[in-house]
Assembly symmetry: C2
Homo-oligomer: 228 residues x 2
DNA sequence: TTCATTTTGTTCTCGCGTTCACAAACTCCT
DNA sequence: AGGAGTTTGTGAACGCGAGAACAAAATGAA
């Protein structure tokens, strides 16, 4: 992340807090949908699956949007968090690599409903071109620069095989994209000022497997011990 | 996590380290594929995208598998990490919810190549039943208990809409699954001893959007100053 | 008005994770 | 054999985040 001087902006929100804001936002949307007008930090924390002290501390970085003795106005807080994250208006997004995962991402309604609009689907394979996925036509990867410039795209999603990911990232960076969400299982090298977040599906399973293995090992040890 | 006495098992690997082991494993596999027999901590760290001091400390939790003055034997270290994670043999996995994302997950080759075998695809919607995805037939969700018992499944993947996720999780826990990978955007409540990891696609984009928004804000300020 | 009650916002402490820095140990060359 | 050069493994310092605890502020009742 770009480490700027803290004096430049009074509100330096910790990264851990930033990562939880979308969770709070989602919980608030759910509460609003249920017609609940206000909530306490305890209620919101439960809905978001966190500690209430942590929630209050996180929200305090944004400002004082609650009322002591009362709680938070759901709609008001929701707007404030959405504004802080920057999803009060839609962000244009391009997805590169329209394989199985790319299809799923293009069809994922959560993007659209949470402030992101897929403006283009790109793939290097000519066999994919012309297909309409979720109302958007798959186009040649070479049109990347043109599309990014036209729609002023800042966020790119990489859903290609690992081998292609770095060259796709280079092209993205080259045409002005400064945020990349990478689903390919590879480490991307990008210049300073470009943010990369990585989602690795099998990595998560491997972490689960580690704990699972320990569970069964400990169980076996305890079984022997108990037999004595 | 079950907090056991540290005397019970000498190797208490920190969670942050566990999360990086799969990254190192992947880097080692790549090196091995390239025919590289040994590597230094510096080289491996670069390949994995981390600091070399952190890498060495992480590996030190597993044991002393390197040689001072030389480095690490790629194949040997790879096996040791794989053994530690528990992916030397395949883990059976069930996927529930065969929509767009479920299809992509079922077809994702990375699972198979990294120690996981999808033994069943389940969906509550009868319209999906009978379809063959990646060589596996989609079956009714009601067969969950039967399948889990038959294949001794410990890991379940939830790719349903948010509304169904909690009830799916309850059923999974009920039939003995103790590790859940949740792709639905909802907070799951599970008993102690059950591990849940959550992957939230739009959450990652929202985090990027936050930083992106700050860049453009700061960028506007800096635009006067200097565009280095 | 004044007091009791509720709930936020913030201070403080503790523990974990990251990073630096260096001693230990191994290889290779002379 | 001995010394120079590498590279690992680890002790120590540091900084960040989590959680407890409390003061400040708002409401409502007497």
């Amino acid at each position: 992340m770009t480490a700027r001087t803290s004096s430049e902006n009074a509100r330096e929100i910790p990264e851990a807090t930033v990562a939880r804001l979308p969770v709070y936002l989602r919980a608030l949307v759910t509460l609003a949908d249920d017609g609940i007008p206000t909530c306490s930090s305890e209620e919101l924390a439960t809905a978001a699956g966190v500690n209430s002290a942590k929630l209050r501390k996180d929200l305090s970085y944004l400002g004082s949007y609650g009322t002591r003795g009362v709680g938070y106005d759901v709609d008001y807080l929701r707007y404030q968090i959405a504004r802080e994250i920057g999803v009060t208006k839609d962000w244009p997004v391009v997805i590169v690599g329209i394989g199985n995962l790319g299809h799923a991402l293009a069809n994922y309604s959560g993007f659209r409903s949470r402030g992101f609009q897929v403006v283009a689907l790109l793939d290097a394979d000519p066999a994919q071109h012309g297909e309409i996925v979720a109302g958007v036509e798959v186009q040649p990867f070479d049109r990347l620069e043109e599309i990014v410039a036209a729609a002023d795209v800042a966020i790119g999603v990489i859903a290609t095989p690992a081998a292609a990911a770095q060259s796709v990232a280079d092209r993205m960076v080259g045409c002005g994209i400064t945020s990349i969400l990478n689903f390919a299982p590879s480490v991307l090298a990008v210049p300073d000022g470009v943010d990369v977040r990585k989602v690795d599906l099998s990595l998560e399973l491997q972490i689960l497997a580690y704990h699972e293995q320990r569970k069964s090992q400990t169980g076996a040890l305890l079984a022997d011990g108990g037999a004595a």
